[in-house]
Amino acid sequence: MQLPVNRSSLFLVLLMIGLCAATLMSLGMGGVEISVTDVFVHLGQRIGVAEVGIDAFDARILDSLRLPRILRAIIIGGGLGLAGAVMQSLFRNPIADPGIIGVSASAAFGAVSMIVAGHLILGSYYAAFGPYGVPIAAFGGAVLATVVISILSRQDGRTDAAIMLLIGVAINAIAFAGVGVFTYMADDAELRNLTFWQMGALSGNGPTDMPALIVMALGIAYLIRLGTPLNLFLLGEAEARHLGVEVEHLKRRATVITALVVGAAVAVSGIIGFVGLVAPHLVRLATGPDNRYVLPASAMGGAIILTAADTVARIIVLPAELPIGLVTGIVGGPFFLGLLIVEKKRRRL
């Protein structure tokens, strides 16, 4: 009985190393190739270990383009992976994912409605919100969808998983229809902006992303510690209560914070699908279902996946760049199907 625990801890360490490796590789790759040694030298100089820096042009690319971008990839990927793992436990359903149950789409709907109709909705206050209007609207959309789902899918104190997924389908349809309406209304400049929300991009909006990224980091720090209560949750809500979990309290907190994390992710990078679904499933193959390991591993796995996907998005159609949501969709969709087939075989008696 000693062994499995150690193996899971070892896997966490491996993931950490993998994340560092992915970060270093991603820093070096792109329109301008920078060698791993140069990346090391530059990072060393930044933290005051190395005396001499590297070529000024390369240094500028690392500092102002790639480092912030990879930081976004790590936080957003980590947030999405973790949010997926938490939702799967909260709804006690391995198929739950912010994309599938419509939370991401609602966040995008919030963002899009603010871009196109913000000056109509807020009137003279629009200027006061400035660049923060869009992320706040994305939050709003995510929270609204999560609340609607958790209220409607509950009956006599139980969450019905099938109903929840169907509600998610409906919310997805409504949100995408809403996005469609605004796309129809939008002018050319707004249209380009909207595409970004629907397909995702890590190029970011400069310093205005900071509040959203900080919210995500705080959300991650809270959610990642919920391993044991969420394990109990998997037994059922009544059983979790018998075992000392303040169920309603935990559910409300975890749901709202997950929605905040997803909303913030959408606000920064648009809809990036499949990370929340694929990361937890992948790490469970190594750690088993124990949330004490699945949660941190999903966060790191999500960060690795998104960093890798972003590297692909940056180099595959040089000098242009592919929307990252397309990359995660193209790679993630079939990959997930493959996973399900493997899982199906494994569950045979």
Partner: protein
């Protein structure tokens, strides 16, 4: 120091599922709840477990109103074996039983937890299943897993391999609530489960409440019995006083006779008219 419902009502959509129920689970005794389907037995168990709040009356556990006790404190004083718990994630049997240690995660050590879990697994006769995935088990096997989980929760920080002292190290009583613990079990495991519950009562002073359907199991394993019908307690008292053919026949609307068992005692049999 009991777990008791005092004039408890439970109303759902305007209908009384429980009405004016007063009942007490005493430490060291086994209380059986008997009654026809839909009598409110499971509802009563949920109210006593704090899962449902009574719409009238109060539930007290060790002298405190249930509503004023935190979920964690409650969990350290009573364990529940549910009728059916679904789990779609492939935890191993060992891990599911270990979840019962969660209320003690701040005060216990891993070695101690594992020792308790192994002991409970042995008692529930699921040692050969310990490494199997829980979702792949049969219904009866799952029941035994949940019994083991309830046991490790109930034992708390008491070392069960030591002498079976009646005290738990603290002076509050502990309670074990079992909702139809024999459902889906074969005959030998039915007796094993009931004997285990009774042993917890007699050797460790646990107050045990169990919902049963079999009159003879009540005769063999319970000290007290309460009969529920349409949400009300129609009779309660010691097993020898309550378990009479006349009373049971009228509550269950089915003729029930007592016959002498050549091996000693009586056996209650129900006959179709």
């Amino acid at each position: 120091m009991t777990l008791m419902a005092h004039k408890a009502d439970f109303k759902a959509r305007g209908r009384y599922l429980l009405r004016d129920v007063s009942i007490a689970v005493e430490p060291g005794e086994v209380l059986a709840i008997l009654g026809p389907n839909g009598a409110g037995k499971s509802t009563l168990l949920k109210v006593l477990a704090g899962e449902l709040s009574p719409s009238g009356g109060t539930v007290f556990q060790n002298g405190r109103a249930l509503s004023s006790i935190s979920a964690l404190d409650l969990a350290q004083e009573r364990a529940v074996m549910p009728q059916a718990a679904s789990m779609s994630f492939p935890f191993t049997v060992f891990d599911v039983v270990a979840l019962g240690r969660a209320p003690y995660r701040k005060v216990s050590t891993r070695q101690f937890d594992q020792k308790q879990v192994r002991r409970a697994i042995e008692l529930a006769d699921i040692t050969h299943l310990a490494d199997r995935a829980y979702p792949a088990l049969s219904g009866g096997e799952k029941q035994r897993v949940h019994l083991a989980r309830a046991l490790v929760q109930l034992w708390g920080m008491t070392d069960t391999s030591q002498s079976s002292a009646v005290t738990n190290g603290d002076d509050v009583a502990r309670f074990l609530l079992l909702d139809e613990p024999t459902a889906g079990l074969d005959v030998s495991h039915q007796h094993a489960v009931l004997a285990l519950a009774r042993r917890e009562a007699k050797e460790r002073g646990v107050g045990v409440l169990m919902i049963l359907h079999d009159f003879n199991q009540v005769l063999t394993y319970a000290d007290q019995v309460a009969i529920l019908s349409s949400g009300e307690v129609v009779e309660q008292g010691s097993v020898s006083d309550v378990m009479t053919p006349d009373l049971l026949s009228s509550v269950f609307k089915s003729p029930i006779r007592a016959i002498n068992d050549p091996a000693g005692g009586i056996v209650l049999v129900s006959q179709s008219a």
